[in-house]
Structure formats: structure tokens, C-alpha cells
Amino acid sequence: MSASWLLIVLIAISVAGYFLGRSRVMASVQGNSRQLHSLPNYYGLNVVMTTLVPALVLLIAWVLIQPMVAQNHAASMIPDDTYADQGALNLLMSDVRRIADGLDLAVKSGNMTVEQAKDIQTGTTDIRSRLGEVGVALGSDVDPAVLTAAQAYRGVTNTGRWLMTVAVLALAAAGFAWSYLRTSKDLRARNLVEHGVLALLVGAASIAILTTLGIVLSLIFNTIEFFKLYPALDFFTSLTWSPSFGGGSQLGILPLLWGTLYISLIALLVAVPIGLFAAIYLSEYASSKVRSIVKPLLEVLAGIPTIVYGLFALLTVGPLLVEIFGAGGFLGLGWMKGGTAVMTAGIVMGVMLIPFVSSLSDDIINAVPQSMRDGSYGLGATQSETIRQVILPAALPGIVGAILLAASRAIGETMIVVLGAGAAAKLSLNPFEAMTTVTAKIVSQLTGDADFASPEALVAFALGMTLFVITLGLNVFALYIVRKYREQYE
């Protein structure tokens, strides 16, 4: 049985278990549910829990682990001398999987019998053309070792699937039997379900934490790998970024970091005043009718995918800026040579951040207690005096926190930069020049035919790690400030 069928069967068993458990406990008290320790539903849910959860965990673990076992087994069938290194073995193994899949398909479509699929040999059959008939195209003729490995792979997979069906169903049946027999009026089903819910929540939380941890660890290990190939000191201090896959690359992060910070700075210069003023207008001046229209509109702006902003930068803002600041442009300054520039990306990124800044600031300004406003109005202050002298100072720490969060988003932004800022790593003060950022370079180092073991590719991890540390620091600092501010009014 395939895993998805198994899942459906499991669910069916549990649904049945729910009603069986419920009716058993009701029968045990002759339908008088007041004698029960828990509500009848809890007895049903308890049966569902013990039936479904262990079986489901086993199923998931099996589905994850079986391919690895099958692959290892198949790999051991291929003689060591047929491949040079791990990369070549990986290529061979993908052939093995294709052939195994092809054989499966052939059996399914009736092109081969089960025995044929198990026994065919390269000497007697033209595997390539036989598999071609069922629509699996192979690049070359099949090596005997590879075919044997594919057959072994199929063997393990088929046996494994069969074993899995038996084991999972047995576990489900055992769980069902155990909880069903235990169901009686004194069973504390309500508490058991409570434990189950707790376990579910803890499980979800740990998955979230563990994956994050996994990502960070893989970043760290690959970064260490990179620093083995390329000196860390050069990486952090070199002023040039010129990767070349032939070797002799200069991989200094400083030009990229400079581009990142410069673009983020311009983005914040655009986003902070506009976002903040919009927030002040919305929270202090706008009537509730205006607010109910404008707030959702701003939130729509926040929902636009950044690639769309990138297009906007490339096709609209860039050319527009060239028309103003370019040679022969509106101002006749000739500062800007092409559409892609720090300014283009910065402005568009700023637009992207406006709703972010304004909605955070709006929340923070709204959190300033009404009594502050009353106090100020009561002393004969006007609205703008109240905002400037009471509300903004009171909200300032929170607003700073919001700005830092916006900054960390700006630093991590990629698509707008890829499309709007250009690809040249430069240390320049001219905002009309094309520059690039850490994120954009991570993209360019990993796309294309890079060898993932070379420093030119691994540098992406070191760049990612640096970015991660910076944004993490900013976020922690911002949250600290925001939290400190919240406490002030509690």
C-alpha cells in the first residue's frame, strides 16, 4: 500500500475508533453521561489519539528513512572502481533511481511482468529501448552494475513498503485495542487529551526551533568550510570583490556591505519620514472613516511581492531618474549613467518599507494612553503641539524599534536590489552609480554552474552568515527597545 493510501486507512480507523470509544463508555454507564469522569467526546478523542499518533509518527519516519536505506544498499552494489568521486557516484545513483522508476512504470503498464523486471539482464535485453517504450528516456546504454543496483533498489523499496504497511497498521491496531479496552467510566480521558494537546503544541514549537537551528548550523558549518579555503581576514578586510571561477578570486565583503548599507540608508530616508507622518495622520487626525479606508490600502502595499517592486524599479523608477539626473536629462547634470543605481533601488525599497514603518508606528502611537493626550489638551495645547511634545517623545523608543526592524528588512531585501541596483561591487559615494549588495551577490554566486565545493560558491554562506548576524543583532536590539517601551505603560 502506498503511504497516501495508508494515511486514508489510518484516518478511517481513527474515525471508527472515535465512535467506538464513545459508544463503549456510554454503554458502560447505561447512557447516563453524568457518571462519566469526562465528557463522552473525550473518550472518543482519546481513542483517536492513541490510534493515530504513534502510527502516524512511524509512517512519517519510515517515509523519510526508507529512501536513504534503499539508496545505501543500492550504492553498495556498485563497484568502487566505476566512479571517481562522490559527485560521480551521485550521478550514477540518479541513474539508478531513474531505471528503478522506469521498471516500476513498465510493470505497472503491463510491459513487463514482475519477474521480468526482477530478472532482466543487460546481456539479454535492450533495457534502454524497453524503458523507452514506457516513456523513460535514458542518456546512454545501461551499465550492468547500475542495473543490478536499480534492481536491488527496487527490491528494498518494495519490501520496505510492504513492511511499512504491516508495521503501521499493526501499531494503529494495537493503539486502538489498548485505548478501547481501557475506556471505562473512570478513565480520566479529559486529562489524557489535555496531555495530548500539550504534546502537540510542544511538538510544533520544537519543529520550528529545530529547523531554525538546523539552518543556522548548516550556515555555520559551510562558513567554516569557506574559511578553510579562503582566509577570513581577507574576507572581512579586502576592499575588492572580484570572484573568478578559474581561481585567484578576491572575495572582500566590504564593497558589498557598503552597497547594502548605502541602499538601506536611502530606503530608510524615504520610508521613515513618509511612514511616520502617515502613521501620525492616521492615528491622530484621520476620522475613523478615512482610517478604515486608508489602513487597508497601506496594508495592500505591504502585500505586494518584492519582485513586483523590482520590476517597478527596473522599468519605471530607473529610467525616470535617468531622465532627471542623467546626461542630457532634465537637470542636465549627467550624474547618472544607467537606470540601475543605488538611488533607484533605495527609493523603491523605501516605498516598500513605508507601510511597514507606518503600520508599526501607528500601533505604537495608538498605544500611548489617551490620558497623555487629555493631559496635554487640558493644558491648552493644540493637536500638533501635543503630538510633537507629548506623543512622539512617549512613543519614541517604540518608533526607533520600528525603524530598526525596517532597517533589518532593508538589509535582507534581495529582489529589488537584483533588479534595481546593478551588479557591480563598488566602494563609491555617488548614489547614482550602480552598486550591489550582499544579498544580490549571494544570488549570483549560487546561480549558474558553480562547483559547490569551490570558495566562490561557499562564500555565499559566509555572506549569508554575516547578514544573518547583522539582522539578528538589529532585530534583538529593536525588540528589546520595543519591549522596554511597552513596559512603561503597564
Binding site: 493631559g375 493644558l379 491648552g380 495645547a381 503641539e385
Partner: protein
């Protein structure tokens, strides 16, 4: 004839605030119903009545704080020194500088003690230089009986004071703008008995220069600090008169029921 004119004039001069047929609605809620009252100058007037009877609402009409509430609608005539305060010519912001307000919960700004008190004078340009401002701050804090406790920590945040000190800071802040009327909405409800006693003493002190209106839930407090008392019930002004008389010899049965603890 001549005598009567003089008597009328003194009566007029005596009246600081006069309200005629005031009605207030919050949307469809009729919160104040046909209230007419004359508040005397240099007197402490207490507003008493059960919760929700509209004391705060009426108080907020007097400095037009209700303007800041969208759904609130005020009708009727309220005059301050004979001037209609709801006249379009009157700037509510200017009015609030003349009619100070102290709130139920102490609400010092998150600024230093000095800046809290200097807030009003700075906005209204009451001081020509730093020395004058210092003097205003010192005088206000002295009048609010906070100077001795605060003089060594003028630059520390006002929010760091105790509840009673914060409330006296708010009073100092209100009197620093040199108002003519001081509105106090349950100024002692968040305070302990000692702080309450200090604030009450202060209110008695303030009577020499201001017309003070205090909303209170405590009958004893009304009896201790006020000369006149107004009893509100369900949005109407039921009885208004000398405090002693209201407490010893109420005319309306509802007033009697309230002060003897049967309504409220």
C-alpha cells in the same frame, strides 16, 4: 431700585461659570439633561452622584474637552465670565488654558518633573526667560505642596514619583498655566488616605485664587472641601446649594437617599 442694581451686580460678579439648559449626547445616549447651574468664583464646588450620572461629562463641557470626542454633541449655553464658551469666536485651545483640568488617574507626561510643570507655560509663552520659567515652576510646585519633595530631583522623570506625588505634580502642572478655574475629576480616587489629605488641603488653599470644581465619590470629601455641592442623578441636576445645607437638610428625596447611602 439703586440697591437692587448693586445687589444684582455683586451677584453677577460672584458667578464665574453659568450653564443654562445644557444637554449632552454621546451618539444616541442622552448623558446630560437640561442642566442649569451657576458656579461661584473663589469657591470649591463639589459634584456628587452615582457613577454614570454624567458628572465627568458635565465637567468636560466646561473646558470643551468633549470636543475631542467625535460622537459627543453639546447643546445649551455655558458662559465663563459672561462669555459664551461655545461661541465660534472662542478658541477651545485658549479656553483650556484658562480652565485647567486635573484627571482621575495621575497622568504626568514621560518627561522630567521640571518639564512637566513647564509644559503649559512654554506652550503659552508665559515666561520670557529661563529665570522666569524657573520661578513659575518653583511657585507652582510650592502651591501644589510638592516643592520640598521634588526640589532635588527636578530633572528626574515625573513618572517615577509616587501616586500621590504624581497627582500633586499634575495639579502643579495645571496651576502653572495660571488658570482661572480648576476642574478636578475624582482627583483622589487613585490615592491613599495620606495623599488624599494632602490634596484636600491643597484644594482648600487653591480656593483663595481659583474657582474649583471637584467631582468626588466620597461624601465626606465633598463635605470637607466644598462650600457648594451639586447632586447629579441620571444626567439631571437634582439639587444644588450650600454644602452644609445639602448634607444636613436635603430637599429632594433622591439627594437624601444618595447621601444616606440608599442610591449609588
Amino acid at each position: 431700585m439703586k440697591d437692587m442694581l448693586i445687589e444684582e451686580r455683586t451677584a453677577m460678579e460672584d458667578v464665574k461659570i453659568s450653564a443654562k439648559d445644557v444637554n449632552v449626547w454621546y451618539g444616541d445616549t442622552h448623558a446630560i439633561k437640561d442642566v442649569s447651574v451657576e458656579i461661584k468664583d473663589k469657591t470649591v464646588t463639589a459634584f456628587i452622584g452615582p457613577s454614570g450620572c454624567g458628572k465627568s461629562t458635565f465637567l468636560r463641557c466646561i473646558n470643551r474637552m468633549n470636543d475631542t470626542i467625535d460622537i459627543c454633541r453639546v447643546e445649551g449655553l455655558i458662559t465663563l465670565d459672561g462669555q459664551d464658551i461655545y461661541d465660534p469666536k472662542v478658541d477651545p485651545v485658549q479656553l483650556r488654558a484658562k480652565v485647567g483640568m486635573v484627571f482621575q488617574k495621575p497622568n504626568p507626561f514621560p518627561k522630567s518633573i521640571y518639564d512637566n510643570v513647564a509644559y503649559g507655560p512654554r506652550i503659552h509663552g508665559l515666561a520670557r526667560n529661563k529665570a522666569e520659567l524657573d520661578e513659575i515652576v518653583e511657585n507652582s510646585l510650592r502651591r501644589a505642596a510638592l516643592w520640598n519633595e521634588a526640589k532635588d530631583r527636578l530633572q528626574s522623570p515625573g513618572t517615577g514619583l509616587s501616586g500621590g506625588q504624581q497627582q500633586r505634580l499634575c495639579i502643579a502642572r495645571a496651576i502653572a498655566t495660571e488658570p482661572e478655574v480648576l476642574l478636578m475629576d475624582e482627583p483622589c480616587s487613585a490615592l491613599d488616605p495620606i495623599a488624599t489629605a494632602q490634596v484636600e488641603e491643597l484644594i482648600d488653599e487653591l480656593r483663595t485664587s481659583y474657582s474649583v470644581i471637584i467631582v468626588t465619590h466620597s461624601m465626606q470629601q465633598a463635605a470637607r472641601v466644598s462650600q457648594r455641592t451639586a447632586f447629579f442623578h441620571l444626567g439631571s441636576l437634582v439639587e444644588y446649594g450650600e454644602t452644609d445645607r445639602i448634607f444636613t437638610n436635603p430637599v429632594d428625596p433622591r439627594t437624601e437617599a444618595y447621601i444616606t447611602g440608599r442610591i449609588g
